[in-house]
């Protein structure tokens, strides 16, 4: 074991240049253009030549086994250079065009798919779920697998009107991109926290706990001489923020926890400004292992969008063009009181004009 003196800290990450393929190094900052070769395959050209990118899906929750298989392919086809994308796909960076097809064959054999470029559904930004997080109202990796099995054809093709970004988060903390995705799947609790009055006084700071509630539903109280908190159940909308700061206020409720579906968010500035995702379906049951209600609902929205949007129109742009009333009509999704905003800026969502489709 190393001695104390040799312990190093605060070195930061390794300098990135050592990980760049020579062609990339030479073209760095000087790229001229890119081309799309086929789904999952791009080429980028600069004064120093062309690099070919082959992108494959990853479940993101991957083992050293999976990664070593990937690395073997990188050694075989891309001079040992590869990268991950901001949506957790894997990109092989090839100097030789002729390596593209053999690499794809090997990737498919490994059990993964090549695609995710251009007007496709790319990988799903997601979270920990029942695999690792205490806060989860649903699983994340399982939902992603179930949904992407249904949508795989949209990953391996570029037949959608535009890019379509799907996100999954297992609780309202939304670790990821739920609030700004074309389609988002959000796990949620639907009943107020149950308070463990024995544990609470030791485990939690009362002022922090009280302050954590977005809706002022938590008040200090005293039970058998011990200071604890109580929750005004009429004011609680199950966000779980109290649980984050106070472990003695768990929300998990197998009977009522479930999943909601959101649509129409976007991040890029292309054409329209970034948009938040909006509520489509307030509640679907947790139905593991394959969440059929959820996969169904998502697939229907994707297909409706695919059939009706214009070229380069993202989901939110499409809905804005046709109007939300038509989206609900066409999708057959019921419009309920839950769709009406009632948080901070709710008033800014009311329709304050006569512009409506009849």
């Amino acid at each position: 074991m190393a001695t104390e003196a040799k312990r190093v800290t605060d070195i930061g990450p390794p300098q990135y240049e050592q990980f760049l393929h020579p062609i990339i190094k030479d073209n760095y900052g000087k790229w001229l253009y890119h081309d799309s070769i086929k789904p999952g395959v791009l080429s980028h050209t600069g004064p120093a030549g062309t690099i070919f990118t082959v992108r494959c899906a990853s479940p993101r929750l991957v083992s050293v086994n999976f990664l070593r298989d990937i690395m073997d392919l990188a050694d075989k086809y891309s001079d040992g250079y590869f990268r991950f994308t901001s949506r957790n796909n894997i990109e092989f960076l090839l100097a030789k065009e002729e390596n593209i097809d053999p690499l794809i064959v090997d990737l498919n054999a490994m059990g993964t798919l090549v695609g995710g470029t251009n007007n496709a559904i790319s990988n799903v930004v997601h979270t920990q779920g029942w695999v690792h997080c205490h806060s989860a109202a649903t699983d994340a990796s399982g939902l992603v697998k179930a949904v992407m099995d249904e949508l795989a054809e949209y990953f391996t093709s570029e037949k959608l009107p535009a890019k379509l970004r799907v996100a999954v988060a297992c609780c309202l903390n939304m670790c990821g991109a739920v609030h700004a995705s074309d389609i988002a799947i959000l796990g949620l609790h639907r009943t107020p926290p149950r308070i463990d009055n024995n544990a609470l006084p030791n485990q939690c700071e009362i002022p922090t706990t009280v302050a954590s509630c977005p809706n002022n539903a938590i008040r200090p109280t005293s039970i058998e001489g011990k200071t604890t908190v109580k929750v005004d159940e009429d004011k609680c909308m199950y966000c779980g923020n109290c649980f984050t700061v106070c472990p003695a206020m768990p929300l998990a409720d197998p009977l009522n926890d479930g999943v909601s579906i959101w649509v129409g968010g976007k991040i890029s500035n292309a054409r329209t400004e970034p948009m938040f995702t909006k509520l489509a379906i307030p509640y679907l049951p947790n139905n593991p292992p394959r969440w059929p209600e959820v996969t169904d609902a998502v697939k229907k929205i994707v297909e409706l969008y695919a059939a009706n949007a214009r070229p380069f129109e993202r989901v939110g742009e499409w809905i804005n063009r046709i109007g939300w009333e038509k989206f609900f009509d066409m999708s057959g999704i019921e419009f309920t009181k839950y769709h009406l905003d009632d948080f901070r800026h709710a008033g800014t969502t009311y329709r304050r004009s006569l512009h409506n489709r009849y």
């Binding site: 479940p59 991957v62 040992g80 795989a152 903390n173 292309a270 970034p274």
Partner: protein, 402 residues
Amino acid sequence: MADDLKTPLLDELEKGPWPSFITDIKSMAGKNDYCKDLLGQLEKSYEDKRGYWKHGGLVGVMGYGGGVIGRYSALPDEFPGVSHFHTVRVNQPSGWFYTTDALREIMDIWEEHGSGLTNMHGSTGDMVLLGTRTEELEPIFRALTAKGWDLGGSGSDLRTPSCCVGPARCEMACYDTLAMTYDLTKSYQDELHRPMFNYKYKIKMSGCPNDCTAAIARSDMGIIGIWRDDIKVDQAAFAEYVDSGMDIQGAVVDLCPTGCITVEGKEINIDDSDCVKCMHCLNRLPKALSPGDDKGFAVCLGAKAPIVEGALFGSVIIPFMKIEDGDFEPMHDLIERIWEFWDEHGTSRERIGEFIERISLATFLEGIGEDPSPKMVKAPRDNPYIFYEEYYEEEGASASEE
């Protein structure tokens, strides 16, 4: 051993075309108890429709306050392999570029000291090593640093900055996202490793307004490339697009948000004074159009998920800035002014976006010493509730400031 493990529900997730994380975890289940018991506990979660993890405790490596997420099973007797199941966040290299040599070294360390499961990558950008015991943390740390790797952030600190592929493989990049990410990460090691902020602070860098790291939605500080002069046009390349039969009118002209593109014959004309740099025409015509020469970035502050005050997108605080001659000083200066002011006036667990909304944009700008600009707003105020600070004194007619 995986043999005696029955996971009928999880097994369903081995079917179908998408790569299966279950198959992958199973491939490890023979190798260590972490994975075996993870599968067991997960199967139980699938049966019972609930998670079985306890709230994390304070675990970490010596001298660091962040970088490790403590996690304990709520059923340690049933699943002792995951009684501890902590996450180690490892700071990824800029742009998530690796060589097989480098990543193999990490895999070896991780197989020795942990579950062998990872997230490549976490949503913030870290390489996430998923599942190990408390006593392994320090050894892992030492092994990693020996190979040149360090931990990422967690808690109320600077989180691991991340960036798009940018100049390394993209013709749209308006500044060097990789260099900026590296510089900021190296410059703020203390802020990254030792939580002392009001709350988390995330930085994401995108080379252009396509925003391929979702900086505008997922980072307290989004540094997003932009240019100020005219879009560069290669008319010959444009003519080739026309000749190719592409629907230029439908796919480009009609979709420009400000209608500032006109096409005559095989020539494209852009009224750049009206262009809002949305990227759409460049995206469609990458061979003909590219960002101008006067490139740099805008800084957007305040994006976050909905807890507590509702989700926010970042809002423009610095409409334009650039790094010249590799000198990151002006950027450091900006960041430090922001942190200092937030530190002094923000409250605990108040993200910077919520802080700005609470104290108002005008006060925030004054606090960090920046001038207001119409580029920071969609529109000026529509309510008449103005706090005037200049007023006339009884005596004379000259305006004075409070």
